[in-house]
Amino acid sequence: MNRFLSVAIALFLWAHTPVQANNKTPMPPASPRTYIAFGTDATYPPLVNLDDARRVSGFETELLKTVCRNLNWACSFSHEEWDNLVPALRTGKINAIYGGIAITKARQEQFLFTVPLIDESLAGIVSHGESVLPFTEEGLKDKKIGVQTGSTFAHYLSTAFPNVRIKRYVSIQDALLDLTAKRIDAVFGDTPVLRYFTRSLPEDKQDNYTVTGIDLNPENLSILGTGYGVAFNKNPESEQIVKALNAQIKAFQKKPAYDVLKIQFGIN
């Protein structure tokens, strides 16, 4: 019996040892500095992804890290499944969500957004071969398009082209796996993410896919959004934080370091 008890206690203690690098629970700040726990679905390279040591990385993460450093804030970055992001924000598990989250009218009613982290809106479509799919109702007819559940792209497709066949995936990575499996004709999503996908292919297969940016007319912008931002819960506390973040982000975007970061992660 004693042996059983000691084994149980040992297991309990073992489970408490922190070994996960990317999912570590945010440490409370030692000093009364502003503390923000950022959450992201880190499956959106190059915007957000997990590096070799399985830490959250990517363009948006590095940008936010720099901004935090400049503000002297304590910030933590953790990975959550896409479906879990909003509930985690609502229940206070994390304070902010980011990572390819487009700023749209519908979302602005629910969340408080910062200014866009990348100063242009990016929507693209990746398809087989060299054929470029014309992004119209006619061009997409009889094609199966994959999108991520709950993303702006899913919303946009179902409103703009109700007759196009849409398949919804848990994550964009699952949709891309199905594109490689040729079950769907194209994936509609963030251009940087799609470009990263084709670039990571072996040399001889890179020509099998074409990524096309989509011309966004102002009408589309209302759904697809004006860029990628960081979303907070709407409350007075967040407003202060967003104000400070906005000033820093805008200042940083004027510096040459911003362009260096863009080139480093292959955006543009």
Binding site: V86, Q110, G150, V170, T180, A181, K182
Partner: protein
């Protein structure tokens, strides 16, 4: 919560229907596979029995989630599947889910059937043989019937387990009850309501299913 269900009842019920459909077709196909593999193991020819036994052992020792991912996302890696006639089958997530459920269920059902066959008194088989039954007749008319009666109670558990396992099909874009729930969760942001309704529907269905199966047992199995 009730209002939420009323507003979205079409979606929830169509999800439940898909779940039940997956369960039924997975189990039926699973029975066929299980009967075949039991026959192969019973045949005592190593070139039938050995591969079947190792496949079953593998299926019982790996998670269902991994199996369904292997079938759906994994298999298209091979070009012969892709360009061959099989692709028509593997293209559909629903069919992949049914196949995965059937394979998984058959691995467990085989154990049940095998155990039940060994529990048949030897005299019964000898009596049938002396009456002039051939080997396959013996298997299908004497052993299988007896076995189904013997193993029904354990098989009831398997039915409930497979119904619960259908929720995993939602990870490969099948819109079963779980898939519909996840979609509504991300569309309406009403997480707690969605999950609670799905929970009630699953509990209710498993309850009704077990009541129904118990009634069958009382009516047909125990009576004999």
């Amino acid at each position: 919560m009730f209002d939420f269900f009323i507003n979205h009842h079409v979606a929830f019920l169509s999800g439940l229907k898909t779940s039940l459909l997956l369960t039924a077709s997975g189990l039926l196909l699973g029975i066929v596979f299980a009967a075949l593999s039991t026959w192969a193991i019973q045949s005592q020819k190593p070139w039938y029995a050995l591969p079947v036994q190792s496949i079953n052992h593998f299926l019982r020792s790996t998670p269902f989630l991994v199996q369904i991912y292997l079938l759906y996302y994994g298999l298209p890696q091979f070009s012969w599947i892709h360009s061959g006639p099989l692709w028509a089958f593997f293209e559909s997530p629903t069919l992949c889910a049914i196949l995965a459920l059937a394979l998984n269920s058959s691995a467990y059902t085989t154990v049940l059937l095998h155990g039940a066959i060994r529990a048949i008194p030897k005299g019964e088989i000898e009596a049938a043989e002396s009456l002039g039954f051939s080997k396959s007749q013996l298997f299908f008319w004497i052993q299988l019937k007896r076995v189904l009666l013997n193993s029904w109670a354990a098989y009831t558990n398997e039915i409930i387990l497979i119904f619960k396992a259908t929720s995993i099909a939602s990870t490969i874009t099948v819109l079963d009850l779980m898939g519909v729930t996840r979609q509504l969760m991300s569309d309406t942001y009403q997480t707690t309501e969605c999950l609670a309704i799905a929970g009630i529907l699953y509990l209710l269905t498993t309850y009704l299913l077990s009541v129904f199966l118990f009634a069958i047992k009382r009516r047909y199995i125990t009576a004999k």
